[in-house]
Subunit: 199 residues, 2 copies
């Protein structure tokens, strides 16, 4: 019942995560009726991003250049490489202002249920990056989820035999956290990983 | 922290209803990392729809032509004009197979809270359509919501003085509906609007 260009738009909107046919139709009507300027900007910026965004050849994050600004910076510690799952995680690390090294962004995690193994993650590229002769410590900052943990274990098994010092960010009670509100798994782990107190 | 083409995409995605900054970032990453083909199709179809979709000059629905197929059909009853709020509502009416007249799609409803009054709805165009000399009955099929009802009342006050026969689709217990599950407002209305039984 809809014109074909409208049907095509409704169908195309379904590439957005979590958008079913009803929502897609609602969005298409909204854009055509109420926000043509926004729709134009979205169409333009999609096509522009697709043509200009690639992956940094060193850290694998999204970049408009072959090497991203951060990897090209002479002020970062080239001997430290922090491995994160996503660009968002990298931004979270940066916001701590506690890290001056470089990054490698996996753009995912090992997840057998989703069909993502070491090959899908392109870990050969990571291995080549780590073995550049300058990196001396790899800091695993994957999530403390089952999949993030599995990824950390896999990476450790891959990198340690190459003589790389592999570390993992600490796990425990959050800063400012009250025991009453911390889940028991975290608390048990914090107990097992207790350290000599620098009182 | 993101490349500018990516930031522009994230910003542009916020024209989608209900998408905040976090969701926009998640969607942008998803498209660039996992579904570039879908993103390309979405960009293309947005721009194509914007350039090819306009409003039918007779019924105001989305159309690729000045006059949509339905309005151009010689098989529809030109004397009946059904007024609906949206193209979806028009499709719902069509699916009943109980109506052979034409339509006018308001593309909205009178809603003072949203700043939508008679002017924003472009009701002069509707008035001109109704007064074509052929339409003899206008059937109001706006929703039975407060806003749909207000719209129906406004249209009646506008059209009846022009000598147009204005009717409203009936309200009552849904076909197949059990009294036990019908809300009391509907039931009260069905009681008030009871009719002589053709038993
Ligand atoms: Zn980089
Ligand atoms: Zn039409």
């Amino acid at each position: 019942m809809n014109p074909s260009a409208l049907e095509a738009l409704i169908e195309a909107l379904r590439c957005l995560p979590g958008i079913g046919p009803k929502s897609a139709q609602r969005i298409a009507y909204h854009l055509l009726q109420r926000d043509r300027k926004g729709a134009q900007r979205l169409g333009d910026s999609l096509l522009h991003a697709l043509s200009s965004i690639r992956h940094c050849q060193r850290c694998n994050t999204f970049s408009e250049n072959d090497i991203c600004e951060r990897c090209a910076s002479p002020r970062r510690d080239q001997a430290l490489l922090c491995i994160v799952e996503t660009p968002v995680d990298m931004n979270m690390m940066e916001q701590t202002l506690a890290y001056q090294g470089l990054y490698y962004v996996l753009m995912g995690r090992i997840s057998p249920l989703d069909g993502v193994g070491p090959r899908e993650l392109g870990l050969e590229q990571l291995l080549a990056r780590v073995l550049d002769g300058v990196v001396s410590e790899v800091i695993l900052a994957t999530n403390y989820t089952n999949e993030g943990e599995a990824t950390a274990h896999y990476l450790t098994a891959m990198l340690r035999p190459k003589g790389i010092n592999v570390t993992r960010i600490a796990r425990g009670v959050p800063v400012g956290g009250e025991l009453e509100y911390v889940d028991s798994g975290t608390l048990a782990q914090a107990l097992r990983e207790r350290k000599s107190f620098q009182g």
